[in-house]
Amino acid sequence: MRQFRSMAYPYIIWIAAMIVVPMLMIFMYAFTVKGNDVTTFRFTIENFGKFFSDAIFIEVLKRSLFIAVITTIICVLLGYPAAYIIAQTEGKTKMFLILLITLPMWINMLVRTYAWMGILQDDGILNSILSIFGLDVKLLHTSFAVILGMVYNFIPFMILQIHTSLSKMDKSLIEAASDLGANKLQCFLRVTLPLSLPGVISGITLVFLPAVSSFFIPKLLGGGQFVLIGNVIESQFLTAGNWNFGSAISLIMAVIIMISMYITKKVDKVENGERGIFN
C-alpha cells in the first residue's frame, strides 16, 4: 500500500484548499468584526451575542430545526416502507425501482423546486384539480410547501441508505427468527428493524443536514414567509455584506449539527447494546 500513498496527495491538497482553509476563514470571521481598516482584526464574541440576544434569530433557528426534524421524520416514515419493498424485490425489478428513486436526482435541484412552484401556485395544477371539488387552498408559500419540497428533494438519500442496510442483511436471520417462534411482525421488530438501524441513522444524517441549512427551498416555496437559518446566512453574506455575522451563524449551525449527530450516534449505540458491531 505504501507505494500508493502519494496518490492521496491531490485529495489532501484539495481538502486543504477547499475545506480546511474556508473553515479557518469562517472561524476567523466569526470572532472578529469588520473594522474600518481592512488589516486590523479585533477578537470579539460580539457576533454570537448579537445572535443569541435577538429573539427573531432564535425564532428562525427554532423554526429551521423544527422544519428539518419534521422533514426527517416524514422521510423516515415514507422512506422505510419504500426501501423495505425495494429490498424484497430482485434483479430487474429492483434496478427499475432504484432507477425511479434516483431519476429525479439527474435534474438540477433548483429546476425541480421551480417545477413544484408551478404545481403548487394558486392557479397551478394542483389547485385546478382541487377547484373541481370546489376547494381553494393556498399551497405555495406555506410551511406545507417548504416541507413538501424538502421531503421531495431529500427522501432518495433516506431510501437508498435504508435499502443498502436492508439488502446487506442475511436472509437466514429472518428464517432463524421465524424458526424460533417469531411471527412476521415480531421478525420485523426484533431482527429486521434493529439490523437496519445503521442505515436509518445515516439516512437521517443525510436528510437532516441539508434540510436544516437549506436556503433556496424555503426561499422559493416559502416565499418571504418562511425565513430559515439558511436564508439568514445567505442574506448576511450576499445582501447585508456582513461576513462576520454570517460566519458566526454558520458556526453556531455547525455546532448544533455536530451535537445532534453525536446524539443520534449515541442513541444508535445504546440500541445496539453499545457493542459497536456496526462501527
Partner: protein
C-alpha cells in the same frame, strides 16, 4: 416407538427441475436420523420443507399425525440449527439464546434459568455477555445449538452444522452433538454429505441421491449391506465386482465360485458384489482365493491402500517403428523437407484427403536460412482399397520433393467379450528425437497410435489406463518396438498394515460373510 414425522410422496420442483421425486420417509421419536447424500441430492430441500421454509410441490408432511404443510414455521414445534448458524449479530450470546423464550413471553427468571442451563450444556457459561460476532466458529455453533434447544422442541433440524469447522473440532462436535441428543432425548434430523459423520452419530441413516431415497437403515446395515452401487460407493470405500448368483449361498465372479451368506436371488441372476477393502487380506500367492500382482501402494496414515490387479483389462499391442531419416536437402532453394511412412486403416482409405495425408506423414518443408515453414503445394499418390504399400510424393513450389510409403492394412482392433470392450490402435513411425523430446510420453503414444477403447454395451469411451513399453525413452535407437495399451481390469483395493511392493505376486483372501451381494435390479 411412536412415528413422529411422516413424509408422504414429497415432490419438489424448482423452475421445472425435480429436486425431490416422491420421497416417503417415517421418522420416530428420539431418533438421531441423518439425511446423507452428495450436494444437490435434495437432502437440504427435504429439511427445509420440514422446517416450513419451503412448500412441497406435491405430497404431505404429517407431524404427530397432523398435516403441517400449511403451518407457518413459527408455529411448528421444530427448531433448526442453520448451516451458517444465522446468529443475530445485534444480540449477545445470552439474548440470542433467549430469543425464542422472549417471543413466548416467558417470565424473566424462568428465561434466565433455562438459558443458563443451556449455556452449561454447550459449555459456554462464561460467555453469556459476549458478542456473537467475536466468537470462533465452534463457539458460534454451540450458541446456535443452544438457541434452538432452549425452546424444548420435539425435533431439532441440523443443516450441515459442522461444515465450516476444521477436522479436529468437527470430530469433537460430533461426539458432543451425540451426547447432547442422548441427554435431551429428542429427535435430531441431521443433514450432511460426510459419510463418516453420518456413521458416527446416527441411529438411522437415509441415503439420498438425485432426489430419491436410496437406502434407509442403521449405520451397520448401510455399511455392510448396501443395496446398490451408489450406496456402496458413497458409504466408505468398496470394491464392486460383476458376478452371477449361481444359487443360494453360492456366487461366481472372476470365473470362480465362492461360498457366501446371501440368498433369495434368482438362479443365475446377475449381481454386483461388494467387498470392503478392510475385509480383504493379502496372503501368499498360492494360498489366496484370488491371485494377482500389486499394482500400486499408497500410504494413508494408519494403513496402506494396496491395489491388487487380478486380471488385466482389454489390451492391444502395436508396433512403433523408430526411424531417423535425414531430411531431403535442396541446396539451390535452401530448402529442407521431411516426412515419415505411415500406416493406414483399410476402412479409412475411402475418406482420405490430402490434408489427412500431410498430417499423418507429418510432412513439412522449411527454409534453412530463415527457418520459416514453406507450404507443400503438390501431392502425388495412387491408392487402392486393398492391403499394400503405396508411395506418396510431396512437393513444394521450389521443386523440392520427398517420397514416403503409405501402408494399408486391416483394422487393428481387439474385442474383449468378458468386459464387453473394444479397443483400437494402429502401428506408427516416429523419429527418435520426437520420443526423446516428448514431455508426456504415455499420452503422446496414445495420440500417435490413435488408441481408443469403448464399451460395446453403450458405446461410451473407456479410459486406457495403462501404456506399456519396454524401451528407454531417453536413449532410444532406431528399430521396432512394441507398445501395449490396456484398460482397467479387475482391481481390488486392500487396506493393509504391511507394506507390499509394486509388482509383487500375491494372493487375496476373504471370508464368505465379507461378500455382500447387491441385485442389479437396484434400489430399495
Amino acid at each position: 416407538m411412536r412415528k413422529l414425522i411422516q413424509f408422504k410422496n414429497i415432490v419438489k420442483e424448482f423452475d421445472g427441475q425435480l429436486v425431490l421425486k416422491g420421497v416417503n420417509l417415517d421418522i420416530y421419536e428420539n431418533e438421531f436420523v441423518t439425511l446423507l447424500g452428495p450436494s444437490g441430492c435434495g437432502k437440504t430441500t427435504l429439511l427445509r420443507i420440514l422446517g416450513g421454509f419451503l412448500n412441497p410441490t406435491e405430497g404431505s408432511v404429517l407431524f404427530d399425525n397432523e398435516e403441517i404443510i400449511n403451518v407457518p414455521p413459527y408455529k411448528r414445534e421444530i427448531n433448526t440449527v442453520f448451516q451458517k448458524y444465522a446468529l443475530f449479530p445485534h444480540l449477545n450470546v445470552y439474548d440470542n439464546i433467549a430469543f425464542g423464550l422472549k417471543i413466548k413471553k416467558e417470565p424473566k427468571d424462568i428465561i434466565e434459568k433455562k438459558v443458563m442451563r443451556m449455556l452449561k450444556l454447550v459449555g459456554l457459561e462464561e460467555y453469556s455477555k459476549r458478542s456473537v460476532t467475536e466468537m470462533s466458529g465452534g463457539q458460534q455453533q454451540r450458541v446456535a445449538i443452544a438457541r434452538a434447544l432452549v425452546n424444548e422442541p420435539m425435533v431439532l433440524l441440523l443443516d450441515e452444522p459442522l461444515g465450516a469447522l476444521d477436522l479436529k473440532l468437527r470430530k469433537e462436535m460430533q461426539h458432543e452433538l451425540k451426547k447432547i441428543q442422548q441427554e435431551v432425548g429428542i429427535t435430531f434430523i441431521y443433514v450432511t454429505h460426510d459419510q463418516e459423520e453420518a456413521l458416527t452419530m446416527s441411529d438411522k441413516i437415509v441415503v439420498m441421491n438425485a432426489g430419491e431415497i436410496q437406502q434407509i437403515g442403521t449405520p451397520t446395515d448401510i455399511y455392510n449391506e448396501p443395496v446398490n452401487e451408489f450406496v456402496a460407493n458413497f458409504i466408505g470405500e468398496s470394491n464392486i465386482i460383476d458376478g452371477v448368483m449361481i444359487k443360494d449361498y453360492e456366487v461366481m465372479f472372476e470365473d470362480k465360485k465362492f461360498e457366501c451368506v446371501d440368498f433369495g436371488f434368482d438362479e443365475n441372476e446377475k449381481v454386483d458384489i461388494v467387498i470392503r477393502p478392510e475385509d480383504l487380506d493379502i496372503v501368499a500367492k498360492d494360498k489366496g482365493k484370488l491371485k494377482g500382482f500389486v499394482k500400486s501402494v499408497l500410504f494413508k496414515g494408519v494403513h496402506y491402500e494396496t491395489i491388487v490387479e487380478t486380471k488385466s483389462g482389454t489390451s492391444i499391442t502395436v508396433k512403433m517403428t523408430v526411424e531417423d531419416k535425414e531430411p531431403v536437402f535442396n541446396e539451390q532453394a535452401n530448402e529442407k523437407m521431411s516426412a515419415n511412412d505411415f500406416y493406414l486403416d483399410i476402412e479409412d482409405v475411402k475418406e482420405l484427403t490430402e490434408a489427412d495425408i500431410i498430417a499423418r506423414a507429418d510432412a513439412q518443408a522449411w527454409n534453412t536460412e530463415t527457418d520459416e515453414w514453406n507450404s507443400i503445394t503438390h501431392i502425388e499418390y495412387d491408392i487402392k482399397e486393398e492391403n499394400g504399400i503405396y508411395p506418396v510424393t510431396f512437393k513444394t513450389s521450389s521443386g523440392t520433393s520427398i517420397t514416403v510409403n503409405m501402408i494399408v492394412a486391416d483394422e487393428n482392433r481387439v474385442i474383449n467379450k468378458e468386459y464387453q470392450e473394444e479397443i483400437y490402435a494402429v502401428n506408427f513411425f516416429k523419429s527418435s528425437d520426437e520420443i526423446k523430446e516428448s514431455i508426456a510420453l504415455e499420452t503422446e503414444l496414445k495420440t500417435w497410435a490413435n488408441a481408443s477403447c469403448w464399451s460395446m454395451e453403450d458405446g461410451n469411451s473407456v479410459e486406457i489406463t495403462d501404456v506399456v513399453y519396454d524401451f528407454d525413452p531417453e536413449n532410444i535407437t532406431p528399430g521396432v518396438y512394441d507398445v501395449t495399451f490396456k484398460t482397467e481390469g479387475y482391481e481390488y483395493k486392500v487396506d493393509t498394515t504391511d507394506e507390499y511392493h509394486e509388482g509383487e505376486e500375491v494372493g487375496l483372501w476373504f471370508n464368505p460373510e465379507d461378500i455382500h451381494i447387491m441385485s442389479k435390479k437396484g434400489s430399495y
